[in-house]
Every structure is written in C-alpha cells, then in structure tokens.
C-alpha cells in the first residue's frame, strides 16, 4: 500500500484540495472535503467509496460540470474551469442519443469538430470495432441491450480522443457477468490506447480488476482515506479475479470500506428516523 501519488511534473491530471459544500434544508453539507491526487499518463486510477461519499460530485467537478467548488483541477498543467476537450466523460446512466444510429452516436464528437462525413464514418467504425460492436453500426440504441448501449457511449467518448477518460460507474446498471466482460473490454482498450483513465465506482472487484491505484474515500464528508497500489500483472483480464493476490486486495479495500459503509448506513437510518419518526 502507498499513499504517495506520482511526481507533480509527470502528472497529466492534478486534483488539488477540492472541497464541495451544498446548502440543504437541514443545513450545509460538505460532500467532498480536501481531496487531492494526481494521475500519471496512461495510468488507471479508481476512486472507490460507499454511497454518499461524494464520488459522483467529484466526477462532476473533474468533468467541469460543477463549478461551485473550492480547489483546482488541472490537465497537463492547464487549470480547467468547465468541461474540457481533454476529458472525455462516460456517465452512469444510459446516455446514448436514441434518435441516432450507433454510428451517428459514435460520430457525434467528430461531427462537432466539422470532420467530413466520410472521414468521420471511417473513424466512428474504428471505435465501434474497438468496443466490439461491428455489424451494429446502423442499429438504434433502442434495439441494443444495456451493455451494448454503454459500449456505444464508451466508443462515442473515445472517438473524441480525450487525454483522460473519466467514467462514473459505467457498469452499475449491468449484471455481474456483463460487468466483468465489459471490464475486460475496457482494460483491453485502455492497454491498447495507453489511455489515462479515472474510474469512479463503488464496486471493489471492478476497481481491483482494472486499476493501477485505488483511492479509497470516507463516508460523508468524502475525504481521502487511503491510496492502494494494485500490483497485479498486466495485461490483465477478468481471469485475474481468481488469483489469491486479487482476493487479498479486495479484502484490504473492504476492510477500509466496511467501517465507512456502516457509518453511511447508520447515518441514513438516523436521517429517516429524524424525518419520519420510528414505526409503530
């Protein structure tokens, strides 16, 4: 285990002292408190924490979708103050455009930069092939399964060729087997493109399967609890989940998370009792 991140001069993404507070009817809530870390080029870093630890808030801050925060996010030395072309986002919810075919969905970012139709179709096919959806180019998202739609979203984001791939629990709505297989696909793509990737997740096996390092967060306010280096051989596939080392990492991280998840559960129960009173 290690708490140290990469050196500042080789980091492509620097998240520095992020604090996010919300006003609620029950008073101000600190969702994210003093979170700082750095990501090296080509690194796969996961942020893991219990529900309510501010993971998605952090995702929105890094993606530039949330502006009312303290602290700084910078990409390759450039401080960002909103959505940035260097950061490609994959969302937790289904986010394909239902009115566009698979190829038109994937070509969307290429269309925005004014790429010629033939050229963008060719590029889009390349990324469709990368996520394993050859033959589905002219289908609409409504004709695809949930896992296939998430792969379309991933291909669309990859087509914009971001320096950093930022994913917020992209497989949360999928079953475990699909999740493992898609994890394989993401790993394969990440290793092929040497894509810097930041994954927000609450799934321990998913995080250990894919990451070089895992940042464990506390329950509200979401603070950094520990950074765990995952020293498993690469290239990795889902078969890594059967190894003893994998099991040890999962157990270590669960040890860290159990206390936080229990605190979150107690907090939610107290919240319900406070607002609704005990049941008769």
């Amino acid at each position: 285990m290690a708490a140290a991140g990469p050196q500042a001069d080789d980091a492509i993404l620097v998240v520095d002292d992020i604090v996010v507070r919300y006003e609620t009817p029950d008073g101000p809530i600190t969702a994210v408190d003093d979170v700082s870390f750095k990501v090296r080029p080509g690194e796969f870093l996961s942020v893991i924490g219990p529900s309510g630890c501010g993971k998605s808030t952090l995702f929105n801050v890094i993606g530039g979708l949330l502006s009312h925060h303290q602290g700084v996010v910078s990409v390759a030395g450039e401080t960002i103050s909103g959505p940035h072309k260097s950061i490609g986002m994959v969302f937790q919810e289904e986010s394909t455009f239902p009115w566009r075919t698979v190829i038109d969905n994937v070509a969307f970012p290429l269309e925005l930069v004014g790429m010629a139709k033939a050229k963008r179709a060719e590029r889009a096919r390349h990324f469709i092939g990368m996520v394993g959806l050859d033959g589905f180019e002219n289908r609409y998202p409504g004709e695809l399964s949930g896992g296939m739609r998430q792969r379309v979203s991933l291909a669309r984001t990859l087509a914009s060729e971001p320096k950093i791939l930022l994913m917020d629990e992209p497989f949360a709505a999928l079953d475990e087997q699909t999740r493992l297989l898609l994890g394989d696909k993401v790993l394969q793509i990440q290793q092929q493109l040497k894509q810097t990737t930041l994954l927000i997740t609450h799934n321990i096996t998913e995080a250990v399967q894919m990451s070089d390092r895992i940042l464990v967060m506390t329950y509200r306010p979401g603070k950094m609890k520990r950074i765990v280096d995952i020293d498993l051989p690469r290239p990795r596939t889902s078969e890594v989940v059967t190894s003893a080392a994998f099991g040890r990492y999962v157990a270590q991280i669960w040890n860290d998370l159990r206390e936080e998840a229990s605190r979150g559960m107690r907090d939610e129960e107290a919240h319900v009792l406070h607002h609704e009173g005990p049941s008769s």
Partner: protein, 260 residues
C-alpha cells in the same frame, strides 16, 4: 445483458391492426344500420349508413365537395404551418426565459380551455369575412397545446443527455439543435397533433358559423336543407382532412426521428 428493446421502425402487427380497425368500423356501421332498420334508432335523427354511403356521389357531384375539401384543407395547412413555427418557437422561448414562462404559462394553459370559437365576431372585425378569419381562429385556438407540449418536451430532456452535450463543450445553439430539440420531438409532435385537432374543429366551426365556404359551410347548408345523409357524408370529408393531416404528421415525425 438485458433484452434488446424493439425499435418503432419494426412494425409486424401493422396490417393486422389496420384490418381490426376497419373491421371494427364496419361492424359498428352494420350495427347502427340494423338498429335503424328495426326502429330502435330514429332514422330522422340518425340516417342509415347505407343512405350516407349512397349520398356520397350526390355530394361529390352537386356540392363541389373537392373544392370545399381543398379550401378547408388549405386553411388547416396554413394554420398548421403557423402553429409549428410560432407555437414551437413560443414554447422554446418560454423555456429559455424562465421569467416569461412563469409570467405566461398559466395564461396559455387557461387559453387552452377558453371557447375561442365564440370570439369569431371580433376576428371578423379584425380580419374581415375571408379565409384569414378562419385560419387565425384555428391558429389561436390550437396554439396553447403546441406551446405547452414544447415546454414539456424540452424540460423533460434527460439530464444525462444535457450533460453529455456539456461534456462535449456544446454551445447553447448546438445544445438546442443537437440534443434538446431531437429529445423533445416526440412530445412536440403530441402537441402538434392536439393542436391540429383544435385547429380543424375551429376552422370547420367558423366556416359553419360565418357561412364562408369550405366543408363547414357545406355541412351548414345540408343541415338547413335537412339533408341528413348528405350532412353526415360531408362530415366524413372533414374526417378525411383530419386523416390526411395525421398521416402527414406521422411521416414528418418518422423523417425527423426514425425511432422512439
């Protein structure tokens, strides 16, 4: 993986649905015919369907029904184009400027239930006794559902789609044309369908009231002659106008957004 959802372009049951629909209509007309023939329904209030069908030739040849059909349809078309342009634009503006929406939405909703057809004397004074009075009455009566449904459609766009647009750095114009508008199209078309129903009812109603021309005037004349079969035949042509516009809208929606 979850099962793939069928897209709307695959329509294996269409022919069967059309056959059932036509069969149900034929059965209904047959039942009415029988009830009239055995005296349960008074034939001087409701003419037998066979008489209505028999009167089609007479109405077509003697009453210039095609000219009237074209007049009513063209009034409806102009009102429909105006509705699409001003109604959708109005909804977009009201969604864009929240103060405008907060100030006007209740009034627009109230206007939807107002009997605007009763204001025809005012419209006659403003536009004169011509087709514009009829078109403008159809247009104003149909405006509220188009505006309200446009607001609802845009406001109902899933937040994640808006965030996808933001993550790709779309400006406001791109965000509207590439995400909000296509996402809102199904709801906007619901508004246009409702609007066209309101427009057609008012157009035929005002034609009837001001005796200006079109199918509404024909219905008025035939009713005053107590030609019940002819009156119902003329009403069938009003329904035909409605069918033509609904089919055109359906085609337009499929063209703009091929799937749900």
């Amino acid at each position: 993986m979850t099962a793939a959802a069928p897209a709307r372009r695959a329509r294996p049951g269409n022919i069967a649905a059309a056959a059932v629909g036509l069969g149900a209509l034929a059965a209904f007309l047959l039942a009415i015919e029988i009830l009239i023939q055995i005296g349960v329904i008074n034939r001087f209030i409701v003419p037998p369907p066979s008489e209505i069908i028999g009167s089609f030739g007479r109405v077509i040849v003697e009453e210039n029904v095609f000219g009237r059909f074209l007049l009513t349809a063209s009034e409806c078309l102009i009102a429909g184009v105006m509705l699409t342009v001003f109604g959708v634009a109005g909804g977009v503006l009201m969604h864009r400027f929240k103060l405008l929406q907060q100030a006007c939405e209740t009034w627009v909703a109230a206007m939807a239930s107002a009997p605007i057809v009763l204001m025809y004397p005012l419209f006659l004074v403003i536009f004169g006794r011509n087709a514009w009075t009829i078109i403008m009455m159809g247009f104003f009566a149909a405006l509220p559902p188009v505006i309200l449904k446009t607001i609802e459609g845009i406001a109902g766009t899933r937040k994640v789609l808006v965030n996808v647009g933001r993550s790709f750095n779309l400006n406001a114009t791109q965000q509207f044309w590439k995400i909000l508008f296509p996402a809102a199209l199904p709801t906007i078309f619901v508004g246009l369908r409702l609007g066209l129903i309101f427009a057609l009812i008012n157009i035929v109603g005002v034609e009837f009231l001001i005796n200006f021309g079109g199918l509404g005037q024909l219905i008025n004349e035939l009713a005053e002659r107590y030609d019940l079969a002819g009156t119902y035949a003329a009403i069938c042509f009003v329904i035909l106008v409605s069918i033509v516009f609904f089919m055109a809208l359906e085609k337009a929606e499929r063209w703009l957004r091929p799937v749900d």
